[in-house]
Every structure is written in C-alpha cells, then in structure tokens.
Symmetry: C2
C-alpha cells in the first residue's frame, strides 16, 4: 500500500520523565529534579520547534508505582499545565495533552482543551486514554477499575459530549459589535441536553468555537474497541507497532474502520511510537544504549515483563519469549496494544528476549544506530504506507532530542519527506487535517 | 483593632472577562474576543508584576447564563490553563486559580496545583469554591446542585485529602543520587488510604512536595460553614465586604474561628474584593463610571437583583433597598456572602438602590474616584484592621489596572504600606505565610 495522503510526514515528540529510557536520569547532565522545572520543558519544545516537529506530546500518569521511586515518574506533572506553559514560550508547535476519559468529567475536559486551543492560537489536541492501571482507580474512589468494555462505552459517550460542547457555539455566534451592543447571538448557541447511559450534560460550553474549529483528538489504545473509538472520532492515532508488517496491518485496519464509519480514511493519521538511541557511528549508538542499560539495572527487562504480564524470572535473556506462558495469563488487565506489539515482534522475527529488548524501547519500536540508519527506517516505513509518521519517544532529554533535530531531521528534509517550515498557523493546518464548520442551530 | 501582622498590605488583582464592569467590553479599546487571547492575560500579569502586586486571581465559571450572550463570560477559560501561561511569561507574581470542590476530583486538583507550583517555582494557589449555580450542576450529571451543607461537607473532606496528597512525599524523599542510583526513598512516601464519607483516595501523589511546601489555599465563600472551612484550612480568604464595619467584623470573626481551630490568627489573611473606577479627578472617575453604566444598559442593576435574589422590577433606583422583601425569599440558593454584603451596605448606610449601585460593583465594595481617594480608602481599611489587603476587581482591562499600578500603587508605596519589591521567591514568602515542613512517616 502506498502512502497516498501525506504531503509531509508527521513527527511529534514525547517528553517523559527525564527521557524514556529508565537510565536517562542518571545518564544525562542536569539535576534529577529537572522534570519539575519549567525550563526543562520549554527548552525541549523550542528544540523541537527549531526542527519543525509537529507537536509535543505528553503522557499522563495518575498514580505512583514502586518503580517511581527508582526513577522520575513518567507523566507526573499535569500535561495541560505543562503544555499551557509551553504554549506561552513557543509559536508553532502543536500541544498534545493526554487525559483520561475514565477519571475526568466531559465538561471540564471540553473547557480545558478549548481554553488551551483558544489561548495557544489553535495548537491544542487531546489524547484520550481510558486508563488501564488499577492503582489509578484507587485514587478515584473504591469502585475499582471499570472493565475494558465499560471504559470504552463511557469513552464513546464522553467524546460525543465533548465534540458537542466544542461545537455548541455555532460559527459566527460571537458577533462582538460594540456599536450596536451585540456581543453574541444566543440563538446560534446550542444547549445539548445530552442524556446518555453514563453522562448527562446540559451545555453549552462557556467558550465559542476555537481557532481550529475543534481541538484535535488523538487516541491511544490499540484493542478492537480502542481502534473503533479512533475510527469514529480521532484525527491521529498513537500506537505501539514493533514491526513494519504489524504497522502496515494496523494502519490499514484503522483506515478501513474509519471508512466503515463513513469517514475519509485520509482524515485519520497513524503515528506509532519510535524510540531512537542515536550515535555518530553505530558503535557510539550501541555504547549509548549499553551505558543507559547499565545505569538502569534491569529496568527495561522489568518493564517488558510488566507490559506482557509475566514475572521477570520468566524472561531469560538468551531464550525465546515465552509466548504460550504469557498468553495463558487470564488475569492480564494492562494495555492490550503494548502486549500484542511485543509478542508480535518476538514471534514474527523469532527473537530472544535480549533481541526483543534491542528493538523494543518502553514498549515501542526502538532503533539504535546512526542518524542515517534512523532516517532510513523512518523513510522506509513511511514510503511503504505503514505509518503517517512517528511519535518520538526521546531516550534522554534533551540530548536525544537535540541529536534527532540536528542530525535526522536534515536528512528527512533533504529527501523532501519532512517539512522545512510550518505550513500553517494551527496544528490542523500543519497536519493537513481540515476543520469542519458548524452551522448554527 | 489594629493590624498587627502585616508588614505589607496584600494586593492581588482579578481579571474577569474584559473587565469586571459589564460595560467593559464596549468601553475598552481592542477586540471583543481579546478575552480568548494569550497576550491579553500576559499583558495584565506583566502590568501587575510591574506594580509588585502579589497575585493574579482568576475566577471560574462552569456554565453559560443568558447574560453571557450580552458580554464576555467571566471566567470562561480554565484558570489553570491561563495561569500556567502567565507563569511562563512572568517571574514573581502569584497565580491564584479558582476550582470547584463539588465538580472536580481531589486527586486531579492536588496534582494540577502541585504541577503549577513546581513549574512556576512556588507561585501557585488554589481558590476553593463549592459552586452555587444550578446551571453548573446540570453540566455535571442530572443530580442537581447538592445543598449548601452537603457541598461544604464534601469540601472539608476534599481539602483534607488534597493536603494529605500534597504532603505525601515527606521532605527529602526525592534524593536524586545518580552515583548511588537512589532516585527517591519510597519509605518516606506515604500512601493515604483515605476512606471518608464522600471520597476514597489511596495516594500517594505523583509529585514530591512543592517549592512552597504546599500551594496556598484561598477560600471564597462567607457563610458560617464557609468561614469555618477557611478557618480550618485557608491561607487567604476572598470575600465581599461593602462597609468597613462589616469587614472589621468579618475579619475578627475569621481570625477567632481560626484560633478556635488551634491556628495562629495571623496565619490567615482576609482580602475583600475592591472594584476601583479611577480618574485623574473625581469628575473624570464619575464620567468613566457613567459611560460604563450607559454602555452596559441596566447590567449592574440586573446583577444586583441576581445577587440578592429578587426581580429587577423590585429595585427602584431612588427608593431604599427592599430588604424585607428580599429576606422573605425562601428559595434563595445563591451566594450568601454576596447577598449579605449588599444588604448590609444598604441598611447600615440607609442607601437607595442607586446609592448601593455606586458603592457595590459586581457584588464587591466599589470606589469611584481619584487615585488619592482610592489610596485613602485602602489605607483606612487596612490601618483599622478591617483587612489584610484587597483583591482588585479591575473595571476595564487593561486600562483600569494600568491606572491603579501607575497612580495608586506609588501612593501606597510612598506611605510605606505596600511593597516596592517582592520580598521572596514564592507566593508564601511574599505574603509572609510560612510553609510547614512535613516529616517522613
């Protein structure tokens, strides 16, 4: 399948903790509490903007786990707070904040992202997740984590409401005629009176439509119901795909599902995570990875065990992944997408655990190599139609990001597959995703 | 009663819509949609910072009412989004964001304000409200607005939890020793396992203690239960007091209640709202007010009717306030503090409705006059111990704020009752409110 729609590849970047690699906090220069500092985030955003990256993407973590005492909690700070600050310090880069539909109210989410979109001049996106971590549930009452199906039923209603709230002020309803004393035309503003199975929301929103019409919707979650949620509503899908074949299938499936919902498949973009560990030579890149791994102890191995739902001891570095054992775990409740991606990689390529760890960084596709090697892989997946772009999982911030912007971006630009300038003022403009006008009632 | 505690008067300022006066959007230069623009807020913050004002305070509105089609919705944008942006554009000014305890989850609020406090370098405060607007309830399910008592019971639990979450990482638990590979000491981080009547929250928070120890807590709500909530937990009280006598009594009462909860009364600051309409001469100030009133139609009259819970037609401009009629309204569910302040003004001073409107702006004490007259009133209330300072309700933004900073602040500074420099790095430092260390478990 060719890549018919993208005039430019989409590249966003994710800043997690002090870098996605568990050894990042020890490897990097700077203070271990930099992940609590404004300059840390604005510096990263400015570097990414210099490289014309489309967006800064922030994950969200609503609980502490044991590993958070071993290294900075990934997603500890509220993404909408961080990205609001980034908005004030940048001009063009998109702002993608993750927020859970299970542990927020639709009105609050609609208002928060509308505010961010207005005040950033049209750069906001909401990455919807339904949350798969039981520890999070315990921070929001004692009802336990709703099961996967329930979470997605709620999520579908939630997004319907948020879209209706974003659209509640019809285009042109804010008139602002000082002379004639007409601020807004209330007749063009719609109440929702939404009554669903899980939510009742009267509306309208406190805010008119945003510079993007609506903020963008990103979706992360690769189960069947997750894909359907994306296919119905999302503009961009964030996913873990560890092989090109898997990514090809995934993108084709999402596009097909979107078409089944009556949408133009080109209106939905698929951007898997990609962790890059770069060096001037392959040996330097491998040395960077080796040092990171050593500094982190067995952290990546532990994370892999967590992602696939087995014990660390079940994973022997020089033996194949114990796929049958893993699949027999009926208590598995974590992300289906991460598990499937890792197992697919292991079986398709017949890899040992050690080899899986080399190609899978924090659950995502990982490449350890030179800028040229990274650019080649990126171009190959994109040209083959496996992706619309990538969400970079930066190994160590800011050095991994600086290396990508300085050395990989120019190669992609030279080959004419990545933008050398932002093409418009809003994130929608830059991603080539149209915004829909909404007529008054 | 003297004012024994304040080395410097506290002055914060509130930016609502395009100014607190309903005619502001027509009166001011600039576009009617400036209230949706980043520069509008950052400009105001920078002006306030130039005047060494302590904080920028933002109200929060979670519903649209009919009047929101007549002028910009006050508090339309999410205050935490706006103030995060302001944080990135300023150095010293405090950031006070209103959020409802009735329509948020404690874990989300604790995390959002902790994030803002960390990333702003210790400038965050949460202004807790319980929400008294039935239209808001309808945006959050169909259960209706909980009654006053219920809202405050929930609020008390809510704050207890938020404080415990803010304190959950004991001081020094983030160790950050790269060499020895010790990021944090999990033994110093406490789970809450909080099980209350309304909330169950396991904890801990995702974030260590903030630069202020804890973000500050502001409280707005002047009923008896509201005062008790403030007396138990708050650092600063925001209130509507329309006469000095009423303010004196209110502050004395709050201090007494704080003492009854075992607190040092000097640790709680009372800052009523103050709307200033300034002119180079008194005639100019009166002309500014007259033009604003004319531009707004009967908006202030309608607002007064809403605040006291009667019909507009019940208020005759040149007759006394119909206090008995107002008090006989058993269906009154709106803010008790606003109603009491307006009625107290009317009865204590024996004022007509027109006179009330001259001294009451948007529910708050209003002064129409020269900078010297404003400074005199401010000094008098402060020297007499009626207040620890004021929260300025800016009539028109930015001109009303610029006038205050350029002409009133220098008078107060010259008299030695307002700061000429920020005294510290955090909002606590600048308000003279100590932060409490929290030992590990």
């Amino acid at each position: 399948m060719s890549n018919p729609n993208s005039s430019s590849m989409i590249i966003s970047m994710c800043v997690m903790g002090l870098g996605m690699h568990p050894g990042a906090w020890r490897y990097r220069d700077g203070s271990p509490d930099d992940y609590l500092k404004l300059d840390y985030f604005t510096h990263a955003a400015k570097v990414a903007e210099k490289g014309k990256l489309h967006a800064m993407f922030l994950a969200d973590t609503l609980a502490v786990s044991e590993e958070n005492f071993e290294r900075p909690n990934l997603g500890a700070t509220d993404p909408t707070v961080v990205l609001s600050m980034v908005a004030a310090a940048t001009q063009n880069i998109g702002l993608v904040a993750t927020a859970s539909s299970t542990y927020n109210e639709p009105y609050n989410i609609a208002r928060r992202f509308s505010s961010l979109d207005h005040l950033s001049g049209g750069r906001a996106a909401w990455n919807i997740v339904t949350t798969f971590v039981p520890d999070v549930a315990a921070n929001f009452g004692n009802g336990g984590l709703p099961d996967h199906g329930d979470r997605y039923k709620r999520a579908n209603e939630f997004v319907e409401i948020v879209f209706k709230l974003w659209d509640s002020w019809g285009d042109g309803s804010l008139i602002g005629d000082k002379e004639r004393n007409i601020f807004a035309d209330g007749a063009r503003v719609n109440t929702l009176n939404y009554e669903g199975e899980h939510y009742a929301v009267k509306g309208p929103l406190t805010l008119p439509r945003t510079p993007q019409g609506r903020p963008l919707l990103y979706q992360a979650g690769s189960s069947g119901t997750g894909r359907d949620l994306a296919a119905r509503f999302a503009d961009v899908v964030f996913t873990a795909q560890n092989t090109k074949t898997a990514a090809l299938e995934f993108r084709a499936d999402v596009r097909q599902r979107a078409a089944a919902f009556g949408r133009d498949p080109d209106s939905i973009k698929v951007t898997p995570g990609l962790m890059t560990i770069l060096g001037g030579t392959e040996a330097e890149a491998r040395a960077r990875k080796a040092e990171l791994d050593e500094l982190s102890g067995q952290a990546e191995l532990k994370k892999l065990a967590l992602r696939v739902g087995c014990k660390v001891d079940d994973l022997k570095l020089d033996e194949p992944m114990p796929v049958d054992l893993i699949m027999s775990n009926e208590k598995f409740r974590a992300s289906q997408g991460f598990r499937a991606a890792a197992l697919r990689l292991a079986t398709e390529k017949k890899l040992t655990v050690r080899e899986v760890l080399y190609r899978n960084g924090g659950g995502h596709r990982q490449i350890v190599g030179t800028p040229e090697q990274a650019a080649k892989m990126i171009e190959s997946w994109w040209r083959d139609g496996a992706v619309d772009g990538f969400n970079l999982m930066i190994d160590v911030v800011p050095s991994g990001l600086e290396a990508f912007v300085e050395h990989v971006v120019p190669i992609l630009q030279k080959r004419g597959i990545f933008q050398s300038e932002y093409s418009g003022n809003t994130l929608r403009d830059n991603l080539g995703i149209a915004h829909k006008a909404v007529k008054a009632a």
